[in-house]
Point group: C3
Chain length 199, copies 3
């Protein structure tokens, strides 16, 4: 298992845990929290694959994602008392995860012969729409439409990935892209950046 | 028309009626109740087909489902005064329906070369996500995420279908699977089973 | 650029502006208003393409739609003070737009070898489901399920398109269809038509 695969799985796992915890907050039953963990973890990539069309969505052909999400359920039981202490590790994997999901979404979209603009859009969709679907299924206005700016972090990371991949190497591009997402997100939280739109 | 086709159509019809009635409760107009009847009846199978990808979703290639759902609209007018008396028949067809939809969803997914695990998941999606989409379109938290346990009835029925189909015959597997769903659902309602998740 | 393309683009632009304004009302940030503009403009066609399956959805292969929707963001800034004066032009393009989207949806569906009934349904989906997705993403009950009757205007326009296309010419059918949608929608608003369903 190389580093990219590890980050992919770790990101999926952390996303699933955050979805499960959202379900617990909403007092869902076991089925409800599993579905919420599932859509949070793979909902963005699933929407991307459905938009691109033509084949089964990614996790159908690679069951490991299903097992990772299932593993989030007992894990939340075990770590329930230490969840606050784990918050920093979670934030780290979550942020590395959205960076990587953006890159993987871009690569997959380009592999279908679609344009760089569409690829960057699908990268952002891969990274953030899991959370949108989670919120819609809980009948809450998607958080990312109001406060979180990590869609812009993904956008910046995605554009830099394309530029660096064009001029340098893929691995360098992936590192730059993920670091960009991490830095923007941390700065955004520290300095309370927001991107309002008030015409 | 063989028995499976009859149950499929009857299940679709009963699902559509339950969707139409949900729309009436929410004071939707004719278009709204039709859409709600439609997604309740075929939404689960539609989502399954969109996830599997590659071809138009099932009801597009077999208009009979559209006609069955249309027929639910005048039917609700006719039976409005006897709907309470019909409740038991409805419950029966609804439950047989989700059992059969689970099996049909599994069979369709396997026919695309996907794994038994994914097939069982798609069986459950076929059976229960029509109701999820109905609730989301009405901006209500999906009922099945909190109370109803029939997702687990479908899961049990789906697993037993695969086991019995492997060791015995398909027809036997279908009967066992549907009976399992019916029995679990009736017991769950009688004994108020629930599957909470409180870490 | 012929007349059909012009109406298509103008309709997309007006839909996007209405989505952006809906996002502003809900106090969404820049990302949120863009997504709401996007789904309002192309959500119906996107759902249609996902239901038909097999290829990337339309706007992925023709970036002009993405640029048109992006252009709605600065436009809303510029016109913010004159938006009420522009209301009539907007209504006109919006209504011509849903008429044309119905026709384009029908044509695309027929080109996949699907039946006229399914084609008319997909025409209506193309025209009105962008608004449904917009409302669901804002956790509001879709407006069109309760009040607006323009789904029926699209239905009438769609059926007339098929009839006129069969007996006369395509261009004549398009004109009749769009005029039908416009006339029904204007009459519906003036005389407060509604299509209740109260069994």
């Amino acid at each position: 298992m190389n580093l990219i695969t590890f980050i992919d799985y770790a990101g999926t796992f952390v996303f699933a845990i955050s979805g499960v915890l959202a379900g617990v907050e909403r007092k869902f039953d076991l089925f409800g929290v599993f579905i919420l963990g599932f859509v949070t973890a793979v909902g963005g990539g699933t929407l991307r694959d459905m938009l691109i069309g033509g084949t089964p969505v990614g996790w159908m052909k690679n069951e490991i994602y299903v097992y990772i999400i299932m593993a989030a359920l007992p894990t939340c039981y075990v770590i329930k008392n230490t969840i606050l202490e784990l918050k920093k590790s979670f934030f780290l994997f979550d942020t590395i995860g959205i960076g990587l999901f953006t890159v993987l979404g871009i690569q997959k979209t380009l592999s279908f012969g679609l344009s760089p603009l569409i690829a960057v859009m699908m990268g952002v969709v891969s990274a953030v729409f899991g959370g949108v679907i989670r919120d819609v299924l809980s009948t809450q206005v998607p958080l990312i439409f109001r406060k979180e700016i990590y869609a812009f972090a993904c956008l910046a990371g995605g554009v830099l990935y394309l530029v660096c991949d064009y001029f340098y190497t893929e691995n360098f591009a992936i590192i730059v892209s993920i670091l960009t997402v991490i830095v923007i997100r941390i700065l955004a939280i520290r300095y309370k950046w927001s991107v309002p739109y008030n015409p």
